[in-house]
Amino acid sequence: MNKNDVILLAALLAVGIGALFLTRASRSEGTYVIVTVDGAEYGRYPIDIDKVIDINGTNTLEIKGGSARMTYADCVNQVCVNQSRVSRSGEMIVCVPNKIVITIIGDDSNTFDAVTQ
């Protein structure tokens, strides 16, 4: 490790950890789970009511105990299925092959709809 390596490492870590704290601090508990398929809204569900949602037969979303998780996807990657549960506003689960985006919104983040369109 020479000096420039250490500076680069420290700078990138600082950006990463700083961004982590900034985004964490601005996230409140979510109230709704929004499902979009290929950019269009498929449905929105209250996060505090347990429910299992079938999305076009390709994916299954489970809302349980105030958080959401993808329990099934028909693709080989299984990236979204392996992701941990989401519950705070702004957090999302993305299934790229089926173009499905699960977004959590809170009372304070109604503007988020415009972003997901």
Partner: protein, 164 residues
């Protein structure tokens, strides 16, 4: 130079085997896109032993082979954009001569993750996926450093064995 083809073949094979090993490790972080990137040990070693062009060739071969064996079109697209950005950034940093293989590898790890995130954002047409960015920057630094340390160890030991 005569055995350059054999040399690149060996490293392509190494990259594919490392990719296979990686596929055997179950995802445990719960954050999409976060992985070790073991195959990059072969890529960065080639970059330091021969050159950027050869490293790009090895990288392209392993993406196609690993993608066809264990992935899908989407995962190939992901890897391709991640690898393209990371090789570009690593080549730039290497050219400055101010960084060691470790620093170059750290930048490569971070830019690889950013490249993949850009693809994800483009495919699902949502900027929201950048919410993963902080996690992927941090994991890129850590895995990049590990890969750089291993790549440095390999290139150091290979010097006397294989004259390119």
């Amino acid at each position: 130079m005569k055995n350059r083809t054999a040399f690149l073949g060996v490293f392509c094979a190494l990259a594919v085997v490392l990719g296979y090993l990686e596929a055997l490790i179950p995802p445990f972080t719960g954050i999409p896109g976060m992985k070790l990137g073991l195959a990059n040990i072969a890529v960065i070693s080639v970059m330091y032993m021969t050159g950027v062009k050869e490293a790009a060739i090895v990288s392209a071969v392993r993406i196609l082979v690993i993608g066809a064996l264990f992935g899908s079109m989407i995962s190939i697209l992901y890897s391709f954009c991640g690898a393209a950005l990371s090789i570009f950034v690593m080549a730039l940093l290497k050219r400055t001569g101010k960084f060691s293989i470790r620093g170059v590898s750290i930048a490569g790890g971070v830019s690889h993750n950013i490249g993949q995130l850009i693809v994800a954002a483009a495919v699902v047409e949502t900027y929201g996926v950048f919410y993963y960015m902080p996690f992927l920057i941090i994991s890129g630094v850590v895995t990049g450093l590990l890969i750089g340390l291993l790549g440095g160890a390999i290139t150091g030991r290979m010097k006397g064995i294989w004259k390119i």
